[in-house]
């Protein structure tokens, strides 16, 4: 099986809706930003909070929706290989949409009023760190909780609480250290880079845990979404 053929197959299985969703999310936030007269902050919110949530929910659904799971598990490598491909393509689509969105908004001067005080390359952690955390926490929760609905409930509830109680989170050192949406509320915080690195590390940790859990296909067969 060639790489190109595999990519085409997995892209078809991930589906166009999941692949174009990040771009549509950014367009929606940009529209809301233009309507409110605060495009920089709303675009940042789209990049930092909207796209990662969409990726996390789609990732949780991707793991749960495998209809040929028993067949996959009977193959060498189990479901791990397919899951890696699909989550990788999903993350790639989200990252591409974020990069293009960032580039276009920067070129149009729409982001200048809400940028972290770091170089443009490091500033990409604005979307990369929460994308790693939420994008991998979604499928990890689906696997651990054995339910896509439970994963979506925890992810969306946490997302909403992080926004609604951001004052409390930012004022509590233990929560602030890994608050995923710092740029949306305080882009020039002195601890911006340190907290972004913590969020990125948590995302990587979630990815490693996910990889190890995917070795055991039985987790998936005991899910309430199992075929």
């Amino acid at each position: 099986m060639t790489i190109r053929w595999r990519v085409r197959l997995e892209l078809a299985l991930v589906g166009p809706a999941a692949l174009i969703a990040p771009g549509l999310v950014l367009l929606a936030f940009a529209g809301l930003g233009l309507l409110s007269g605060r495009p920089a902050r709303l675009l940042t919110a789209g990049l930092e909070t909207g796209v990662p949530l969409a990726a996390g929910l789609a990732g949780a659904a991707l793991l749960a929706d495998e209809r040929a799971l028993e067949l996959q598990l009977s193959l060498p490598g189990g479901f791990r290989s397919a899951a890696r491909w699909r989550l990788g393509l999903l993350a790639g689509a989200a990252a591409l949409a974020s990069l293009v969105g960032w580039g276009l908004a920067s070129a149009a001067g729409l982001l200048a009023a809400w940028l972290p005080a770091v170089s443009p390359v490091v500033a990409q952690l604005t979307w990369l760190a929460p994308l790693a955390l939420l994008g991998l926490a979604g499928p990890l929760l689906a696997l651990v909780l054995r339910s896509r609905a439970a994963a979506a409930g925890v992810l969306t509830g946490g997302w909403l609480l992080a926004h609604a109680l951001h004052d409390v989170a930012l004022g509590t050192p233990a929560l602030r250290a890994w608050f995923p949406f710092l740029t949306t509320y305080d882009p020039i915080a002195p601890d911006w880079l340190a907290t972004r690195l913590v969020v990125l590390a948590l995302g990587i940790g979630a990815g490693l845990l996910l990889g190890s859990l995917l070795r055991d296909g039985e987790w998936l067969l005991r899910s309430e979404d199992a075929p």
Binding site: G15, A17, A18, A21, V25, A28, L32, L35, S36, R38, L42, G50, L53, A54, L57, A58, A60, A61, L145, S147, R148, A149, A150, A152, G153, V154, T156, G157, W159, L160, L161, H163, A164, L165, E224
Partner: protein
């Protein structure tokens, strides 16, 4: 003719939903966070008493739990299609109207159980902390029925109907985005539905029917506003179910 199949569908959907660990895990988890935040709300019960604290607690329950409520109902209709039992169900005595309404009533009632439990735990905390048992007990049901129930039925109807046409993760994303934008974001930040009749978070009914409330004391909603908000939410919930039914019938003809 339809009463018996309806009872059967409602009961079956209720049992399926209430036995899902996910329902309890998510809603009790969010409930713990809500009860924790209850302890931080600056109640001045000596001055205002249960008249203020009970509706305020009802509003706190409505702040985040409906998100879990909607997300957990969203996969109920697509589940039948995923399990390929649609044709089998169509051969049963229940019509498609009965099946959809029964699914809504049964699954929503089951998902309400943990929400009501969280509400009761918060009330118990209020009584244990501030006393005033009689007043709290008398206000508990009206506050839940007026502040929480219309919004939860609204959320439940849309969460059953919308996934008939939308993929479940897309609906879940749109729903949580809508909840934050249309209920929590301040109107001064972006154009939003917050602080209008069309807010299932229950703020209008809370201020309208419980004037002693602390929440958004600057808002001056009358009881007419409160009744109109509830009527509008229930009307839209019914419209969502009717639209969902029509789309489901069209999909069946296309299959």
């Amino acid at each position: 003719m339809t009463a018996r199949p309806m009872r059967g569908v409602v009961w079956a959907e209720f049992l399926m939903q209430v036995r899902r660990p996910a329902v309890w895990l998510v809603l009790l988890g969010l409930g713990v966070l809500s009860v924790t935040s209850l302890a931080r709300v600056p109640f001045d019960v000596r001055a205002r008493g249960a008249d203020a604290s009970v509706p305020e607690w009802a509003f706190l329950v409505q702040f985040v739990l409906p998100v879990g409520f909607g997300v957990l109902l969203a996969d109920r209709y697509p589940r039948d299609r995923r399990l390929r039992v649609g044709e089998l169900l169509r051969s049963a005595p229940a019509s498609d109207t009965v099946r959809l309404c029964g699914k809504f009533l049964g699954a929503a009632a089951a998902t309400l159980v943990p929400v009501a439990l969280v509400y009761l735990v918060g009330l118990a905390w209020l009584v244990a902390t501030y006393g005033d048992f009689v007043a709290t007990a008398l206000l508990a049901l009206p506050a839940f029925v007026l502040v929480n129930l219309p919004g939860l039925l609204f959320v439940g109807a849309f969460s059953i109907a919308c996934p008939i046409v939308l993929p479940v993760p897309l609906y879940q994303f749109l729903f949580v985005g809508y909840w934050f934008w249309g209920n929590i974001l301040s109107p001064g930040d972006v154009p939003t539905l917050t602080d209008t009749w069309l807010t299932p978070i229950g703020g209008v009914a809370q201020v309208a029917f419980f004037p002693a409330t602390l929440h958004r004391a600057e808002a001056h909603w009358s009881t007419v506003d409160g009744a109109a908000s509830i009527a509008l939410l229930l009307l839209l919930a019914g419209a969502a179910l009717v639209a969902g039914l029509l789309v489901a019938r069209w999909q069946q003809r296309e299959d």
